[in-house]
Symmetry: C2
Subunit: 409 residues, 2 copies
Amino acid sequence: MRVIVLGADGYLGWPTALHLSAKGHDVVAADSLIRRRWDLRCGTESLVPIAGMKRRVARWKELTGKQIIWERLDLMSLPDTTALIAQYTPDVVVHFAEQRSAPYSMISGPHAVETQVNNVVGTLNLLFALRESAPNCHLVKLGTMGEYGTPNIDIEEGFIEIEHNGRKDRLPYPKQPGSFYHLSKVHDSHNIMFTCRAWGLRATDLNQGVVYGSGTPETDMHSELRTRFDYDDIWGTVLNRFCAQSAVGHALTVYGKGGQTRGFLDIRDTVRCVELAALNPPDSGEFRVFNQFTEQYSVSQLAERVKAARSAHGLETTITHLPNPRTDMEAHYYKAKHQRLLDLGLVPHNLDDSLIDHVIGLVEHYKRRIKPELFAPRVDWRFGGRGKIKAAPTGRRRVAIAPSVARRG
Amino acid sequence: MRVIVLGADGYLGWPTALHLSAKGHDVVAADSLIRRRWDLRCGTESLVPIAGMKRRVARWKELTGKQIIWERLDLMSLPDTTALIAQYTPDVVVHFAEQRSAPYSMISGPHAVETQVNNVVGTLNLLFALRESAPNCHLVKLGTMGEYGTPNIDIEEGFIEIEHNGRKDRLPYPKQPGSFYHLSKVHDSHNIMFTCRAWGLRATDLNQGVVYGSGTPETDMHSELRTRFDYDDIWGTVLNRFCAQSAVGHALTVYGKGGQTRGFLDIRDTVRCVELAALNPPDSGEFRVFNQFTEQYSVSQLAERVKAARSAHGLETTITHLPNPRTDMEAHYYKAKHQRLLDLGLVPHNLDDSLIDHVIGLVEHYKRRIKPELFAPRVDWRFGGRGKIKAAPTGRRRVAIAPSVARRG
């Protein structure tokens, strides 16, 4: 397959590009590199030093003989996006290229707007580019399990059969997202579903759970192939943050009661899930949804798992409960289907102590780079951000939102 | 009540501002006036000549002694929006200020992007302004029945009780909108619902059907108080277009089979529904949805109604079927609830021949202003726009999508 990975500079985009290349696919890795600028703005930084994209692909070529083509691309430009799609006419586009932090999206009005404009417009431009230049291409889009929220009934994979007043239909599963970021993914899902129906595009929406882990066999091959590892309040996912906290002897900080339950998966399963979806395309016109996670945990259960893994080495870990900065429910029913990727052959890496040990080991290696002040949440869902979050260096970004000419004018 | 009407220069915004003022409420009428620029771009124009906003409010004052305050405001500016809300601390904000044409949104990628950015960002800015300066204000937001699409089960008002695998929940009704415009309203609904839950805002989403009619008792008081009347392919709603076609002896153009069924209402009911919603606010934190229409018709049924009304005067009317430029279903189940506004006291104006006669009479008065070439659809849902749709005069519009400072930085 010829695959374009959008957002290839990110935590998951880069390992996915490597994994697909290792499996023999032709990979184009594209990114605007905006994630590195967002780090500067938030005073955050990957714990693991990461090489630039040119160096990464050169090192990969040297070690494996395989060529990943690197392209700098901002999806906010429709002409650039269309040109890239037309140039490579890919079989598959894997789309990770979004602002993916819920706390970031809740800092202020402009951050909410930036998140939704970046994600919605980038995806719209991609859809128009596919219609124009690669209508048979399979779009593999990263969504989130957070699109569903925490309903009091079982969560299905994207659609639900509803019987009502004696009639039946299979309808999109109702969405109750919990941040402006999660909302942006719901907006994307609706936009993509519509274009499959109206234009005959084909798409898989991967509603992914919370990812943990520090890398994959490919990223572990060389220090210059490593992917980023975030442990801070804005970008760090919860288990990675707990591992970082325990490595430096910091208490594990649980928000509220810790009964918040979510789906989780190992980063090694993310890259495999993406490949499984890509290898098994939907029909033209089909919009399908896979729930991409392997196990459910509450936040408190995860904290206990980390504590137990440390205890096995005779190390003590404290767990503290902070006031919950978010507005999600702290105790609720949660049961979500995740069958379709298993049906395609996914063999999950379940969470075990050795993974926790491995991540903690990595954190210990880079211990001196940790800024413990970044553990504490700086963004409150009700009031916005506080503390050290810098202004944007450029202040504004131009977006073409007024049409220049009609398509067939 | 002190009410701000956003989008007060539009087909419905202006009559709403007048109606609320006539009923004794303090009204601030705000608009960016972009709708008049969109007309220039599309080669379209209101059939009925419309006065500028300053002249309108002056004439209203002169005739009634009542003061409507006119404010030019672009919701794309968060500071300007916040300043307006802080200045007037309204009890109610009625929000019509969106790009509201489905065909316009389907012309091209940039038109889709412009529609979604304008509508989503404008509403986000308004939500942040309310949180900041008027958290108890009641947001009355114009949505559309088109958010639901045409499911094979009855459409409820915003939420549906679902029983699934032995458990129950009341969840947002699944959405299947049929254009980038309709999608933008779904995005808005999700964003507003979230802020009610997270911030305790209160909002009513009026999922309005297709409006017909040329005015209200207030707009009929003087030629300078008239509201716009659109009969063209981009902005004209279907019954108004049929009336215009029949007035000039043009065939009524039905798209496809004409079995497309929707909810409809008289413009005089629109203004009354908005007032009823405003007078009966939801609780703090509540997001409620009213389906705002009074009768269901298929497009063919409407054409037949116009034909029959003409026939009563001995006039012959032809009905022709054009290839459907849209991708909606041309025959489908449709039954939508619309009880909650009736419960609040709405007494509907049902569609009758005298209304059709009245609208046709108005069109005949302005007959020489009709451009029959604007009856034919220029926008195809699959391929986009063709023909005379001009480039934007300025080409680009600046949007602040990068945060300047964190709210509590």
